[in-house]
Symmetry: C2
């Protein structure tokens, strides 16, 4: 879905032109090539502009977020598919309007002309048409690519993940659409990112509104993309753009201004159905009836607390044909009327025409879907992890096999093999004679809860000393089979009771 999560994308990009950053990078590269004192070629040691590595801590957070999202998608019965990272260039051609300039093309090295995928929706539509699939509920989590001006501190990258959930098929109105909103509600609640709102509108309501306000047909799209800026710009500026840049009459702009300030629920849809002007548009009425129906399902799904029918929501993309929506986080603590949008974290809508663009006979497959904007969510989760006292573990090791004396490598390797073979997550230091202190330090640093310590005496007695890292408590003698029993019945929580007996604490 071209659920572009950041609607600023097309505003402040410098497009394919060289930015100052890139000029600097080029100069640094030239300087590096001229060489340092040793005359050797120096690498520019960096990742490509707008991209980043994920370190183990970030990956641990990412895994947690993905598990929540995938868990929700699976709870709703979705299958998953995967598509290649690049598509034939012509598959992407004509799908993204102005944004097409942000597509990464591959070099023509002979053979097909290829482009990196810009979103997961167009590949999904291509997949449906190619395999003649007329109904499917699928999720797809993968990276997409946009040659946009990166703003990495605000979570905007040139390589980023999209988490898409889409329902394709001919179904009764608004039922799958409502489920998409239910899913956004579940995911944002479960991730515990603070308060949020889901704005809903309909492409047909927007078009009907433009018509009854006197916008000429040919200006619908461009006026729509100006309306789309309302969450970043004041109405006065949006109006100026409409009148001065796009040549709309002031009267028409004012009428639009009245409508786009409206927010509400099912009641607003009902009121607008009675509105003498709006009700003149058949399109608008169809959209308003669907909004009413949608809200009735949202009530059954128990999610109306966060959903707002908002006539200012436009979403820039051409291919939406019905309902559209976008979820924003609202700053916590601020009073409701002052609550500021800290950015969109999910978006989507209905696109009933896209699959037909790929079908040789133009057969349509109605689709509705939502995309979770994961990068901004990562940023927030990362900040939360930084602020929290709890350390993020990057491994799941349950026990470290250590020795207190020298020359026990063989015994350590034997014991760790026993543990691995029993399915226990275990580590051993890759040294012949590591110091006990450095082995214990490694446990503390990486949060390993237990150490199995081998010594001459223990080996003679055929036992192992087991130590709880956090409390430094020790069980002096325990058979390795016992360790395995304990460890195979828990993940990490282990403590000793007052009788020095090992206990699993859940």
């Amino acid at each position: 879905m071209l659920h572009t999560v950041d609607t600023l994308n097309t505003q402040d990009t410098s497009g394919p032109c060289l930015s100052i950053d890139e000029e600097v990078a080029k100069l640094l590269e030239l300087k590096a090539q001229l060489g340092g004192d040793d005359g050797k070629h120096q690498f520019v040691l960096k990742t490509a502009k707008g991209t980043r590595d994920y370190n183990p801590k970030q990956m641990a957070i990412r895994e947690k977020v993905f598990n929540t999202i995938i868990g929700c998608f699976k709870r709703h019965g979705a299958e998953t598919i995967d598509t290649p990272v690049f598509e034939l260039k012509e598959t992407l051609t004509g799908k993204y309007g102005e944004d097409s300039k942000l597509i990464y093309d591959l070099k023509d090295q002979g053979g097909e002309l290829l482009s990196l995928r810009y979103d997961l929706t167009v590949p999904f539509a291509r997949y449906l048409a190619m395999n003649k699939i007329t109904n499917i509920k699928r999720y797809h989590i993968a990276k997409v690519y946009r040659r946009d001006n990166p703003a990495m501190t605000r979570g905007r990258y040139r390589e980023f993940y999209q988490c898409d959930f889409d329902i394709a098929g001919q179904y009764d109105a608004m039922i799958p659409d409502a489920e998409c909103l239910k899913i956004v509600h579940e995911i944002l609640s479960e991730l515990d990112l603070g308060d949020f709102r889901i704005k809903v509108n309909d492409r047909r309501i927007l078009d009907g509104m433009f018509a009854v306000c006197g916008v000429p047909d040919e200006k619908f799209r461009t006026i729509c993309s100006t309306v789309d800026k309302l969450d970043k710009m004041a109405w006065e500026d949006v109006k100026k753009e409409m009148v001065n840049e796009k040549g709309l009459s002031e009267e028409a702009a004012d009428q639009i201004g009245e409508y786009v300030s409206m927010q509400g629920g099912r009641d607003l849809a009902e009121r607008l159905l009675q509105d003498p002007k709006m009700s003149q548009s058949k399109q608008a009425c169809a959209g308003l009836s669907d909004i009413k129906l949608l809200f009735s399902y949202l009530e059954l799904f128990q999610v109306t607390d966060k959903v707002v029918f908002d006539l200012s929501l436009a979403r820039g993309l051409d291919y939406y044909t019905g309902i559209i929506y976008e979820a924003v986080l609202t700053q916590q603590g601020a009073p409701a009327e002052e609550s500021v949008s800290v950015g969109s974290v999910a978006g989507g809508g209905r696109y009933d025409g896209l699959v037909g663009m790929f079908d040789p006979k133009g057969r349509k497959v109605p689709c509705v879907g939502v995309s979770i904007g994961i990068e901004r969510i990562f940023s927030i989760m990362e900040q939360k992890a930084e602020a929290s006292a709890e350390k993020v573990r990057t491994t799941e090791v349950q026990v470290m096999v250590a020795s207190a004396q020298k020359n026990l490598l063989e015994e350590r390797l034997k014991l760790v093999t026993e543990l691995w073979n029993a399915g226990i997550k275990a580590e051993v230091m890759y040294k012949k004679n590591p110091k006990l202190l450095s082995q214990l330090q490694h446990c503390e640093e990486s949060g390993i809860p237990l150490v199995a310590i081998l010594g001459e005496q223990e080996l003679k007695d055929g036992v192992v000393k087991l130590r709880v890292v956090a409390t430094r408590e020790e069980v002096r003698s325990i058979h390795s089979a016992h360790i395995m029993f304990v460890l195979s019945h828990t993940d990490t929580q282990i403590c000793l009771d007052s009788n020095e007996t090992l206990k699993v604490c859940m």
Copy 2:
């Protein structure tokens, strides 16, 4: 690691030249552009050459394989990282020798020159140098890209997954190396792909062998890449290539031929250390001593049953500096001496110099790692799934909320909401009045074990009918809270006992 899993890569590729397939594709494209009967532009509805979509069934198998592999990596205490799909072009330059021609470059659209990653090892080394990391145990599962001649039926693609596990750091000899082999042994055993063998050799033994056989220094690499073909070509042909194409003396070739036919274990390493010719090479002796040490650790890890010291193993890549290895599946049932390699499924080795190539001061970080060649494993698992009577489920839905009568959409949506909110995987049909038969059919098709059926009578009594799809048994009245209790205590295994009481069967 450039653990190229298919050593044929450089032999039969047509490189950047247009292949016949591509010419055909171009002609078809031109034909499509000329249009069909309706004169409209027709898309070539396909994925890029050498790539494929994964459908839900394939994804279910892929997920299972990944879970096994990741489970093993985590059991061995590995963290994970991720790097961008493209790197600065110069990051990849000079790392892959002849294979560089297979790198996908991005089009110069202004800004940095970029290439798609060719493996996960070079990005890993770049990551270590860039972040000044001197020790880490990490895994990385991601797609890599090679403009190779695809042979998709044999599991060779232009976009394919690598599953890499690497240990970086200054440690005592052969301990991390042995763990890599232990990991290959665990994964291939757990995936149950049939019998396998892990061939081991050492770059220093190869070089030493070439030296004592009289190969001129400048011919080491090219002769090495000829030796690398021994698993696909007979010795006679390999010898011909050495003598006729590479200009080696017949005497030298014959001496090499004697060595590369040798296979064994620790004993072979000991024998070669006494070999009058081989023992003249210091390099070879260092390698042979390490092989001996390696085998002593492999015995402690209980994996020597599958590991063979094989002097014909060469592996094409330049950057290996010590131990190298490759795992091959051997056809089942055939007697050992006839067992034919059905292809390499894992490979790797030690590369102590690569990180230093990225460090401005050339500081080295010793590394050893292994890459699991997942595509061929997928192919085998897919074939197994096809052959098996058991159906592959593509969703995890536990219960379908259905109705037997009309006008019960609201009630269905209410119940499914209760279930979702309780964390239960549930589905409902997106129709106002679906037929009971089509609801039940959907369950049978997608393997949903239970149906909760709503009817007028049940609603009056405040209960739900619960039906086991497989046996068609029903509990006539059950409270929705009971459904939730049952479902939250099991995944799918549910049956009825003789008293019509619902039972969880584990």
